[in-house]
Symmetry: C2
Subunit: 276 residues, 2 copies
């Protein structure tokens, strides 16, 4: 389990201290943090909690939401994202996951929204570079294009990242969001040097009434995780595999039970070729 | 409204005769038929009904579901698709819309499923060519990749179509399915000569509990139809704009009211530049 990381969204109802302790109990060596849970205890205390307990911080979720049309909204988004960069640095991770935002309210100008994101990245990148934090562009499943992220494919993320050094702007490969993409394997190969995070959870059906909670435990759905893991490894990625599950049933289960299932399924579904 | 077509799925609870009459009353010059409603009256009688009432048949929905793994399932799918081709010819349309099918039951081999579709197309194409019917490959939104169509983008559809003459295998541009695609406009340009159908309905949120019914009336959602219409026209497409809406509220409304809204929204949302 050397590369396994628990994204704390998977144990949403635990506070940060519980999640960190849960990882320690289960022998999970890394954790992905969320700003909301960090804010509950304060960044400084969160940083100390994690440092004392020992897990590596594989990422901070999340910055982004950069598609405001008005200057005030754009300024506010930039300020918030600069704070997120600083928080990532203070928490000891070099990876800030970026969900870029959907169409501006009332707008149907998708190309324009994508340009807004590119513009904001240009403004944000110097701060990230100075802080030693990599902005990790996360393409989201196209079903979230209207309201969450106008960034929909890995190819598109690579195009957006291209003007920046790979150490400043990277990409996230989240199995749930990209598994369907017929261009995925060549895109992962093209992402060599840019992959900042590899996240897993399964595509399960039927979709729930809240589409944000559509993510399932690995093995419960349709994704061949081994193919994706081998592709990111072949592209030179040697970082964590972060398990991030938004799912009402998973959230309703006791945290230690969820973590135990995560650890077991990680082995059987993501590393099946390494089973002895 | 010279190019408007009512796909009869929009008035699902009407039989074929009602839909044909409804088009005539509203002055809609074309209709897209579904095999289920055609079967209710029989193909010969359906052909006569349509021919007598006058609307052009812009397409027949649908063939496909070609991802069976077993030889018996593959044979059955081929036979059914040959029948669909023959029905299209008898109904007087040269366009059979193809929804290719999802992952085979229990399988996570997405690349394999895509190869199955390519193999079946090779077997089906000669029959379509002989019948003068074009197989119109419809990429479906990636949220249907697991269970409905492993064909997810227009680029992918063009790749699958490439080995065949454009007169035998074409592609469908359905706004709902492809609007999010960052590669859409270049893909539409590359589809010149292959575009067999242009379908419209809107992306609305939240997604309903049955994801198949997520389609909204044009103007109720996030899609800029004019951009897409201009792109397919620039690619040389001069056929119908077919309105195909699966939506519980639309289905619950009286058919004539739905058709009136379709005709009005077609003008305001798809042809806004042609408003006098």
């Amino acid at each position: 389990m050397a590369k396994l990381s628990l994204n704390q969204a998977t144990t949403k109802h635990w506070g940060l201290a519980d999640a960190v302790d849960g990882c320690a109990r289960a022998g999970i060596p890394a954790i992905g943090l969320w700003r909301e849970q960090v804010a509950e205890v304060g960044v400084a205390r969160a940083a100390k909690l994690v440092a004392d307990a020992g897990p590596r911080v594989s990422s901070l979720c999340r910055g982004g939401f950069l598609t405001a049309l008005d200057p005030a909204g754009q300024r506010a988004a930039l300020e918030d994202n600069r704070r997120a960069v600083d928080e990532a640095a203070e928490l000891g991770t070099d990876t800030l996951v970026m969900v870029v935002g959907g169409l501006p309210p009332g707008s149907r100008d998708l190309a324009g929204a994508r340009q807004l994101v590119a513009d904001r990245f240009g403004e944000l990148a110097p701060h990230a570079e100075a802080a030693g934090v990599r902005l990790a562009l996360e393409p989201l499943h196209p079903m979230y294009c209207a309201d969450r992220a106008v960034l929909s494919t890995l190819d598109q993320a690579l195009e957006l990242a291209a003007p920046f050094p790979a150490s400043v702007v990277g990409v996230v490969v989240d199995a749930f969001h990209v598994w369907w993409d017929p261009r995925l394997l060549p895109a992962i190969a093209a992402a060599a040097g840019r992959i900042a995070s590899f996240q897993v959870c399964d595509w399960v059906l039927p979709l729930p009434s809240d589409a944000l909670l559509a993510r399932g435990m690995m093995g419960d759905g349709f994704i061949d995780f081994r193919v994706l893991r081998e592709a990111v490894e072949a592209a030179g990625y040697s970082g964590a595999t972060e398990v991030e599950i938004f799912n009402a049933d998973v959230w309703a289960a006791p945290g230690d039970e969820v973590i135990a299932t995560v650890a077991r399924r990680y082995v059987t579904e993501v590393l099946p070729d390494q089973l002895s």
